[in-house]
Symmetry: D2
Amino acid sequence: MTFASPLSMFDIAGKSALVIGATGSFGSAGARALARMGCDLTLADMDAGKLETLADDLGGNAGMIETICAIPDSEASATRIVDAAVQAHGGLDIVFIATGLNDVGFIEDQPYEKWSAVMRANLDGYWLACQAAGCHFADRPPDRGRAKVVVVSSTHGRHGLPAGYTAYCASKSGLDGMVRALACEWGANINAIGPTVFRSPLSEWMYSDEDPGKSTREGMLERVPLGRLSETDDLIGGLVYLLSPASDFVTGQTLYIDGGYTAD
Amino acid sequence: MTFASPLSMFDIAGKSALVIGATGSFGSAGARALARMGCDLTLADMDAGKLETLADDLGGNAGMIETICAIPDSEASATRIVDAAVQAHGGLDIVFIATGLNDVGFIEDQPYEKWSAVMRANLDGYWLACQAAGCHFADRPPDRGRAKVVVVSSTHGRHGLPAGYTAYCASKSGLDGMVRALACEWGANINAIGPTVFRSPLSEWMYSDEDPGKSTREGMLERVPLGRLSETDDLIGGLVYLLSPASDFVTGQTLYIDGGYTAD
Amino acid sequence: MTFASPLSMFDIAGKSALVIGATGSFGSAGARALARMGCDLTLADMDAGKLETLADDLGGNAGMIETICAIPDSEASATRIVDAAVQAHGGLDIVFIATGLNDVGFIEDQPYEKWSAVMRANLDGYWLACQAAGCHFADRPPDRGRAKVVVVSSTHGRHGLPAGYTAYCASKSGLDGMVRALACEWGANINAIGPTVFRSPLSEWMYSDEDPGKSTREGMLERVPLGRLSETDDLIGGLVYLLSPASDFVTGQTLYIDGGYTAD
Amino acid sequence: MTFASPLSMFDIAGKSALVIGATGSFGSAGARALARMGCDLTLADMDAGKLETLADDLGGNAGMIETICAIPDSEASATRIVDAAVQAHGGLDIVFIATGLNDVGFIEDQPYEKWSAVMRANLDGYWLACQAAGCHFADRPPDRGRAKVVVVSSTHGRHGLPAGYTAYCASKSGLDGMVRALACEWGANINAIGPTVFRSPLSEWMYSDEDPGKSTREGMLERVPLGRLSETDDLIGGLVYLLSPASDFVTGQTLYIDGGYTAD
């Protein structure tokens, strides 16, 4: 084995890591994990106040933390985000994209603008971020080790339920396809994590002991062999695996961290 | 068996069938098949001249043929297309959506507008057409039998190659997800057909006995167990199956008609 | 189009068709469909009495009907079955394998013999039948058109529930893999049909208006977008499609006829 | 986060780990990794001499090493193996099953015994080992943390090529199905790793700079986006992830570590 200890394969200390959508639930949990592992962080998101709060909160652990108040909603903003990371930390090794939007509605009732907004946030934005990252990776010194990209997909990329999720399902399934395409085109490491429901301000009601949360949760858990909904902590191990040298031979995959939902 | 003969399960004579993207290779082959089976046709596409030529060509076989010079690039145009079919033939039973666009380019070289154009044509347009069809289906008399929607996906929805197909792969994978979502939301029959390369003006060069067509084809055929590229005729049997009562219990699927490419 | 009418692509009149597991629910429904379409039939199964009853019942429709009291549980019996079809009808064009066994039990409680029995019936037997058919196909005159093999898989090949189905799930998933492998190895047409629950003597209780059938069904239907359990008639359209020239470019696939279960 | 550092999620020091098929290439690489991480090991395989050599080789790193000269080819032997681990180390936390057999042959040329031997080694043996482990897990004290099972599947579980791999493809696809079924039945963590070709005495020829290894490898690499064949080291990161608390919410999955083969 070329690694002194298997644990060292997961070591990403000193890497320059960019988290896009950093103030969301998975984004901030991922940023916290990367900070604790000693990455130099660049945090990108739309809300300057939340970014500052997050950066302050992580400050004690991380190497250096840069923030940039932007999301990849155009080629210019995506480039700005990547440039911020490169300039702040002298390069870029890790990109974790965790932006996301859902807008529930039956197709007949959903204005085209709402479908489009979901597709732009969940698919176009990821493409723009990957484009900007790819432009940087093309000139990246090989002695920095392999670059890693991880995006946030969903079990909804593979399962069409529930009613009202047409845009969300299409965007996540499309993202899985984009990951496969970039894996092939780049010959580099890009993978997706596919969670089911995890705790966030939006899903907090499903963790309640009272209805409608309780009954909704119990209905959903009939399809979750491990018998519980997810916490963001559940996603961190897979994120670290896919962002570290431990997964150097993995690409184009969607890793479901879903309590067995997709197997049931 | 409730059918006098199994063949009668495939009978769609007298159905009102709308073909969107009717002048393309798969679209026109599908329209011809539906005409021969006695459907009342509505043909939608962008080029009025080609539409007329096609309608004339099919005229001897079909019941009645309506044409509408439009593609589903907005809610208004999608509604116009569906309305044209409903008004021309007193209802709508079958929707076959076969529009499509590809724009090959490495992600770093591809302007966002080109990615967006592919996504709009291959995903947004399908969603708009389904929205308009769904609005009509909501009030459709049940005694017309089950409505059927078939869309054109691709093996590229499941496989990320070749380089330069990021937009195409994402759009087709996204379309598969949209089909699953609408199957669940509607509780109705919507399915995709997933071809590999089939003969069209764009692919004709790959059928040549001379390079680069010959060597490109031979390289590709190493992954096609049935040992040849496809003709549009190969796709008609699956189309008729998925548009007829023979498939009344099938929904949310992508049927690969690919010579075994996805199995290899 | 090389076919005068698309319906003629589904025509299999005069074909020599072998149904293995002919007296089961799907087997006999398939045999009836093939008889009505004018195939020369060979019916194989274990129970001579049931075979005779079935042959008598179908006699008015079919060309000629041969019966053979055997299932493919050894190379010798598989060869005997195929030889019976070849000799009775001067060749063999269609093989439909619909044998099957389930034995429900938690893995800790299930004797190895019971696991083995399921695997032998659902996987080894199919392999043996394909081996015998393949030996015949190797010398088959090409002017008979393409030979077709269809096997019966299940949604359980893709979904691991319910508890107690370990053997069944493994056997059906293994069968899907065997189909892909033979598609590649043969370069010929072999496909699977993946039903969910369909009406049979074993499942009849689930169609009851009284518990436990009613509540079991209602629980299951939460995952079936089309909102009902299946009848064998639902499977016939797909069977005819996959056994006829209409699917000449389809191989290595599992076609789910499941009311949308796998999409949900 | 409940973990002080994300790296500690991958910590498995002190766990009682059983490796079945320990002297094979992936088995011994996995055993070495587990030894270095401080597991108490039980090594099971058929060749006593190789087992001793491996145990000696690992001795400096591991806690305690037990060997048992057996493979799970019957309920009795599977129980003996699990009992050996439980008794040697006072319990069992981790089971890694890496036995395997291939026997290449066209189906028409392959005696049933050879098909059966592959199925017994690659599927029955895994089932027997899981049965024995499951019986132990049923009484396992919950304060030991979650038990973990990882099995070795293959890209051949999803892809049917090359010719001659019918048994291997069916066995690995069946294993994926067994993993999904046990994930659902147990509500516990069982997952598969799906490698493509990795270096072993059997595959060493494909790593040669001379033909036929060179040309075979180059042909294969056309479908591997990361552009190389695999080393057993490539598989260790995923193995550690799936055997450690880092993957506590992952079950029923097949993790492809394949250089992007399944995405291409």
